[in-house]
Amino acid sequence: MLAFDFFCTTEGGLFDINATLPLMAIQVVALTYILNSLFFKPVGNVVEKREKFVSNNIMEAKNKLSEVEKLEADLLSQLQSARSEAQKIVSEAENESDKLYKEALELANNEANASKEKARLEIENQTSSAREQLFKQAEDLSELIVNRLILKK
């Protein structure tokens, strides 16, 4: 009885196909057009505009990043050259000061040597003159002694 009602009645039943079918089809087609103009187009416009915006921004950021990297490399090389130049200048200055120091040292040494030599010569002179004087005095004294001894006799 139940199965009979399901499939075989002229009126009603699960598989009762009538004008509902084409009307529903028309309704769905109409709904497609309505949803297209109400939903798919406006939302699509907004989403695609945003996607374009985002991808443009990403592209721009990438360009900027590569520019920054280039500038950084540039700066780094400049820094490198400046550093080596500074190194050169420092070493030059060191060399120069070393030279100057050596020169000054040599000069001072020479001067000291010269004055030492002079002093030595003077001491020698004075020693020899003092010795001569001493000899002379000793001679005189011996002559005096001799004279006195001889005269006493």
Partner: protein
């Protein structure tokens, strides 16, 4: 006694009974149109609220609608292909939304509380007319898509890769709408019947997991219908080399 009791009350679920509308000499299933108008009206109100004030930084409803749009686009793009998916996205999306709203509306809203003179309100997709209408629209669209994209070369598809395939491919043109319509119809009707019988037999607690299962089935059926429709269109526009 119980066994005698069951079938009569099963019949009380009013399976296969309709609210007939007579216009001229054509007859319509009124309950299908009533529920579909209510549900589609709600859908349209929801969508127009969400798209009323479109902003570049989406908020609230617009967010949800954009997610939905993205979901439908992904579905259409993966099945139809990059080249023509734009033309078919509104159709696929409408199928998905219509089936989804019908299934969920049928499952979530307690239609049985509204008494009709004959038949009862329920998911529009639980009526064979609706599902056949949708399936035939899918058939028409994939023929149209194939013919408009490739002209008469569309029929190369029938002998691809060998002419032996010809009868099977012709048969497929009949089985596609048949399987589409009956899959949807059967699933939704079965779900309604199971829930109805369970609610009748055990009105407390027990029907709830089945109702959740029904919601899951409903969503899956909407996805399957839209995906298959997109796949058939994609198959028709695909270039064979």
């Amino acid at each position: 006694m119980f066994l005698n009791y069951l079938p009569t009350n099963f019949a009380a679920l009013e399976v296969g009974q309709h609210l007939y509308w007579q216009i001229g000499n054509i007859r319509l299933h009124g309950q299908v149109f009533l529920t579909s108008w209510i549900l589609l009206g709600a859908l349209l109100v929801f969508i127009s609220l969400g798209t009323k004030k479109m902003e570049n930084d989406p908020k609230g409803l617009q967010n949800l609608l954009e997610f939905l749009w993205d979901y439908i686009r992904d579905l259409a793009r993966t099945q139809i292909g990059e080249k023509v998916y734009r033309d078919w996205m509104p159709f696929i999306g409408t199928l998905f939304l219509f089936v989804f709203v019908s299934n969920w509306g049928g499952a979530l809203i307690p239609w049985r509380l509204i008494k009709l003179p004959s038949g009862e309100l329920g998911a529009p997709t639980a009526d064979i007319n609706t599902t056949i209408a949708l399936a035939l629209l899918v058939s028409l669209s994939y023929f149209y898509a194939g013919l408009s994209n490739k002209g008469w070369r569309y029929f190369e598809y029938y002998v691809h890769p060998t002419p032996i395939m010809l009868p099977f491919k012709i048969l497929e043109d009949f089985t596609k709408p048949l399987s589409l319509s009956f899959r949807l119809f059967g699933n939704i009707l079965a779900d309604e019947l199971v829930v109805g019988v369970l609610v009748f037999l055990v009105p407390l607690v027990l029907p709830i997991p089945v109702m959740f299962l029904g919601l899951f089935t409903s969503a899956i059926q909407a996805l399957i219908f839209a995906t298959l429709a997109a796949y058939y269109i994609g198959e028709a526009v695909e270039e064979h080399h």
